[in-house]
Every structure is written in C-alpha cells, then in structure tokens.
C-alpha cells in the first residue's frame, strides 16, 4: 500500500488527533498506531483515559471511512460517534506507550458505520474492546 498520511484521511486536527500511523487500511479493516504523548488532552495522572481510547478506536474507523473518499479524490467528511456498546477497558495505557488499534467493519448503512475495535499495548496485551457506531456527515 502507498504511504498515506493520517491527516489526509481524518477530519480531526491537533490537539484532537488520536491516531498517528496507518498500518493497514482497506474496505473492511484498518489498523493504526498511536504514541501517547505527554500533554495529550485525553490523558490524566500519567495515563490515557477511557474517553481517549474510545476516540482512538473511532478515529481508526475514520481512517477506514476516509480511505474511500481519499481514493476518489473527494473531501473527507466529518463524522461523529453515535453510540458505543460492549465497551470493556481492562487497563489504561501509560503516557509514553505506543498503542496499536484494529477495527473491523461489521455493517455499513447509509451514513452509519458499525465497527468492532480493539486496542493493545506495545507488549501485545489487549487493553480495550468495543463496538462503535459512527455517523458520517456526508
């Protein structure tokens, strides 16, 4: 796959970009890495918080959603999290960790994507899993 800059695929900008590198993206799956930097707005007490974890999984889904628009040379639409189900946060990653997040498309409706995602830390340990529904404002 050609190297794609994450900012070409998602509409969020600093300080609310919660993914760094794209490991893979196609029509059904995407995976990203994210380095939890000191001063990240979703961190507190040395850890990246659950809200940030949800956002990271959702932005990994935004990479998948944005990829289609990017390939067609269209503007990347903004999207919002509509719902979260079956969220389990076993552990929070620490500032300084690099996490890897994988998502899989379960269902694609009109302007809604339903994905399942999981985040793991640099040792490969699963930190969190969830199903997320994303609304694309196309």
């Amino acid at each position: 796959m050609e190297k794609v800059n994450v900012l070409d695929l998602i509409p969020q900008r600093t300080p609310f970009v919660m993914v760094d590198e794209i490991l893979r993206v196609d029509e059904k799956e995407a995976s990203t890495t994210f380095y939890i930097a000191e001063g990240n707005v979703m961190s507190r007490s040395g850890k990246f918080r659950a809200g940030g974890i949800i956002e990271n999984i959702a932005q990994t889904a935004a990479v998948l959603a944005g990829y289609g628009y990017y390939k067609r040379g269209e503007e990347i639409p903004i999207g919002f999290i509509a719902g979260v189900k079956a969220l389990i946060v076993k552990e929070l990653p620490y500032i300084g960790d690099t996490v890897t997040t994988k998502i899989k498309l379960l269902k694609s409706l009109m302007n809604v994507l339903i994905i399942e995602g999981s985040m793991s830390n640099s040792e490969g340990k699963t930190l969190a899993t969830s199903e997320i529904r994303i609304f694309i404002q196309a």
């Binding site: 507190r44 918080r49 903004i78 999290i81 389990i88």
Partner: protein
Amino acid sequence: MLKNDLFTIHSLKETTSGHYEVVVNLDKGHDIFKGHFPGKPILPGVCQVEIIAELLEEIFEKSYRLEDANMIKFQALVDPNENDTLYFGIDATIEGNRVKTDVATNLGNGEVSFKLKGNYIHE
C-alpha cells in the same frame, strides 16, 4: 484533567439519595474546539465520559476510570457556541471499589444529548 480547563463545575447537588444533578460550564475557547473540528467546533462526545469520571471524583473524593459500559449514546451534537452549559443527571451506586453509573445529560432545553450506563472503577 479536564476540570478547570475544558469545564468548570457551576453547581453539584445530591437531590435524592444517590442521584446527583451537576451543572457544568464549558470553555468554548478551549484548544480542543480548534481541532474538533477546524471551523466547526463540536464537543467531542468522549469528553463527557471523562467529565463524568472527574465529577465522580468530586462526589466521592476518589479517582475513578471507566471500566465497562453496556451503552453510551451521543444523541445531539454540542456546539459550545450554542450550548456551553451541560446538565448532568447522575445515578451513582457504590459497589465495592466500583461506582455503578447511569447518566443522562441535557442541554437545558430538556433535549437529552448523552446517555451512559457503565461502571467506573477506583484507581
């Protein structure tokens, strides 16, 4: 920490046993709104997950993080230029080192913008 940064607590009352009404003011000039999204400020829904964690800390004087949630719903977009006040209704039941939490947030006009059912765990 989002408290006294993204938001400030305007008032916090336990209206009936285990039910808390919290009024929160957002700082609409916060940097988060510059990136989410450029030219179209919208409160990232996930910030409410963390505002609740910090409100539980305020209520119970312990630090909490979200451990699991069966359901979180983001039902209305919060544009801080239109709505900079959020009204949290929080049912919170202590079970060991967890707080079983059932939250609905509205925008002051009765419109529910956010719902969460889940457990926050002491850390």
